[in-house]
């Protein structure tokens, strides 16, 4: 047994103008989870401490919170892995969400992103027209298992730096879950799903891998990349900066071996996009003044033919 001091964010949106903090001391074994320590605190010290929880075994996804500044499931985090030498553990609600009461947050924006993506199977034809159940081969199912393991705990959404500055981004979980249906052989709405996810700023993923801390190992980032690939393969919403960027980067590497910055910027913004070009002009001028402009044309690297051979050997003919 040890003294664990839970330094808890306290706030009630119905009464408090500003949040405050309470330190609650509990005697628990250090191997106990943070969630169990919170349960003890609620049962023995202060019944008003509010937090979401249900299964206590990383299945329901309810108890994600910020523990010492790191978002994760309280039921999966042993006290001893996070308490400092004085036994203190800082507990806050998930970032990127509006706090409601103590560690409970308003989840609505997160659920909205899910529902927009219609997270249920939409087959192309009616069940009545099938003599058997709709079958999926083990190989096809294997592709979906990781994404289907999502417990919607919103840890990735809370960690996402893009969501933190622009909540219109669908966020990692919703895109990973969309993947689960996009790649499901039984589903008949692949193109519609891809169009929707593109509208919800699929290409705003910054590739930062903050979502790699998924407690269920969904690896949302890799699923996002899968959805981007599917977008390009299906030719959905191609006249947007994201797909344009991906294609022009490939084009310049194939041509020169290098990512040719000047051509990539022009190709992504679009050389006829006057408004877009006007927006990047001030920065371009500031860079030019400092002699910091990338060269307008690049000389190909030595043996660039080899690079072209690689592309030509692996490009799927469209």
């Amino acid at each position: 047994m040890a003294q664990v001091k839970l330094d808890i964010f306290r706030y009630d949106e119905a009464v408090d103008a500003v949040p405050h903090r309470d330190t609650v001391e509990v005697d628990v074994p250090v191997t106990m989870t943070v969630l169990d320590a919170l349960e003890t605190a609620k049962a023995e010290v202060d019944g008003s401490i509010s937090f979401r929880r249900s299964c206590r075994s990383a299945i329901c996804g309810s108890c994600s919170m910020n523990i010492n500044g790191v978002t994760g499931l309280a039921c999966k985090t042993p006290c001893k892995s996070v308490m400092n030498d004085e036994g203190v553990i800082q507990i806050d609600p998930m970032p990127n969400f509006q706090p409601m009461k103590d560690l409970v947050v308003h989840m609505d924006p997160f659920w909205d992103k899910y529902t927009r993506l219609k997270p249920y199977l939409q087959p192309a034809d009616r069940d009545e027209d099938h003599e058997t159940e709709r079958r999926v081969s083990p190989a096809d199912m294997k592709k979906l298992v990781d994404a289907a393991n999502c417990v919607m705990c919103a840890t990735c959404y809370a960690l996402c730096p893009v969501v933190s500055v622009d909540p219109s981004f669908a966020g990692p979980a919703a895109i990973a879950y969309a993947y689960r249906f996009i790649e499901d052989v039984r589903d008949g709405k692949k193109k519609e799903r891809l169009a929707q996810i593109n509208e919800d700023y699929l290409w705003l993923c910054a590739h930062c891998y903050a979502c790699s801390y998924c407690p269920k190992h969904v690896d949302p980032h890799d699923r996002i990349v899968d959805v981007k690939r599917a977008t390009i393969q299906e030719g959905v919403m191609m006249d947007h900066p994201g797909p344009r960027h991906a294609l022009v980067v490939n084009k310049t590497i194939k041509k020169t071996g290098m990512l040719a910055e000047t051509e990539v910027i022009q190709g992504t913004v679009g050389i006829f996009n006057i408004r877009g070009l006007a927006k990047i002009t001030p920065l371009a001028i500031r860079m030019a003044v400092k002699g910091k402009m990338p060269p307008p044309f690049l000389r190909p690297i030595p043996k660039v033919d080899e690079v072209r051979t690689i592309f030509e050997s692996l490009e799927v003919p469209t």
Partner: protein
């Protein structure tokens, strides 16, 4: 380690190796940006290598690493492009490959991991490399210059080489995602609480600033995707750094550098003015090791870092 050798062993040792053969040689992968809009990074890396007594041999025929974008269309192409680079490094006897970009580090390591983990992928790569007579044997290790400084030079040695200590300049480290995450690809240090940059800052006489933004994203990869998003990510991180007392930022990544140096001005509307000068890792280390400031391309930065260096009496 020569101090542990007996005198006659020392004599033999120095007899056997000429000075140049004692110089450690590395394959050097500068990446695209250090050859294009951040040439000052390339130049200061070479100047730093001279000071450190190491030889960086540029893999001049190497291609782009794929920069997270080739993956978006075709993961196989990204992997095989890197396999080609590794085959070149092996052919030159330079399987220790050094990068100076967080994104190159992460993507090259990921490609290497994919190749080494799966015979099928290695065979796929080699069947294509074979078309132009190349083969990757799987011996390459990709590391960032930051790791080289700590592993191969050592912080004590680095510190002892300092001739112009930074006088306690308060420097905020900015890692750049791909040098730390995902941890299974990089794994050189904790992705949640890295301290290599802090250690280097301390070794060269600066004071590292601890702030929540240090492991966050600069938004570079989405700069052109939607107005204001990447800008805001820069502003948010630089705001925290500034509020924690930072006077400058250091980054091992030229993509982060472009974002932090280029976008703070535009981010001011939402996050207030921060104007933190941003150094490429080798610039600040080279400066401390006595490379003349005018050789480091500091005049190329949009937020002029010379102002704070003059204030701190580090340059005239």
């Amino acid at each position: 380690m020569s101090s542990t050798l007996l005198p006659e062993e020392q004599a033999t040792d120095s007899h056997r190796h000429s000075k140049s053969s004692q110089m450690r040689r590395y394959g050097f992968f500068p990446g695209c940006v250090a050859k294009e809009s951040c040439k000052e990074l390339f130049n200061s890396t070479m100047l730093l290598a001279d000071k450190l007594g190491i030889e960086l041999i540029e893999l001049t025929a190497a291609s782009c690493c794929g920069a997270s974008v080739v993956n978006d269309t075709n993961r196989d192409i990204a992997r095989v492009l890197n396999a080609r680079t590794y085959a070149q490094a092996e052919a030159l006897g330079l399987d220790d490959v050094i990068t100076i970009c967080s994104t190159c580090t992460g993507h090259m390591r990921a490609a290497n991991m994919e190749l080494l983990e799966s015979e099928e992928r290695m065979n796929q790569a080699n069947s294509i490399l074979g078309k132009f007579g190349a083969k990757y044997e799987g011996s390459v290790m990709v590391r960032h210059l930051l790791w080289l400084l700590i592993d191969d030079i050592g912080l004590d040695k680095l510190s002892s080489m300092v001739v112009r200590p930074l006088n306690g300049l308060r420097v905020a480290p900015f890692y750049g995602c791909h040098i730390i995450r995902p941890e299974k690809v990089n794994g050189w240090e904790s992705a949640r609480n890295p301290h290599s940059l802090e250690d280097v800052i301390t070794a060269i006489g600066g004071e590292p600033v601890d702030y929540a933004g240090k492991t966050r994203c600069c938004g570079f990869h989405i700069q052109l995707e939607k107005d204001g998003v990447a800008t805001s990510m820069v502003g948010q991180n630089m705001r925290i750094a500034k509020d924690r007392g930072a006077e400058a930022v250091i980054t091992p990544c030229p993509l982060c550098h472009l974002a932090l140096d280029g976008y703070q001005q535009d981010a001011a509307a939402r996050w207030g003015r921060t104007d933190l000068p941003t150094f490429h890792l080798p610039q600040l280390v080279a400066l401390a090791l006595g490379v003349p400031a005018e050789k480091l391309g500091l005049n190329k930065h949009l937020i002029d870092p010379r102002t704070i260096l003059v204030e701190r009496e580090l340059i005239a």
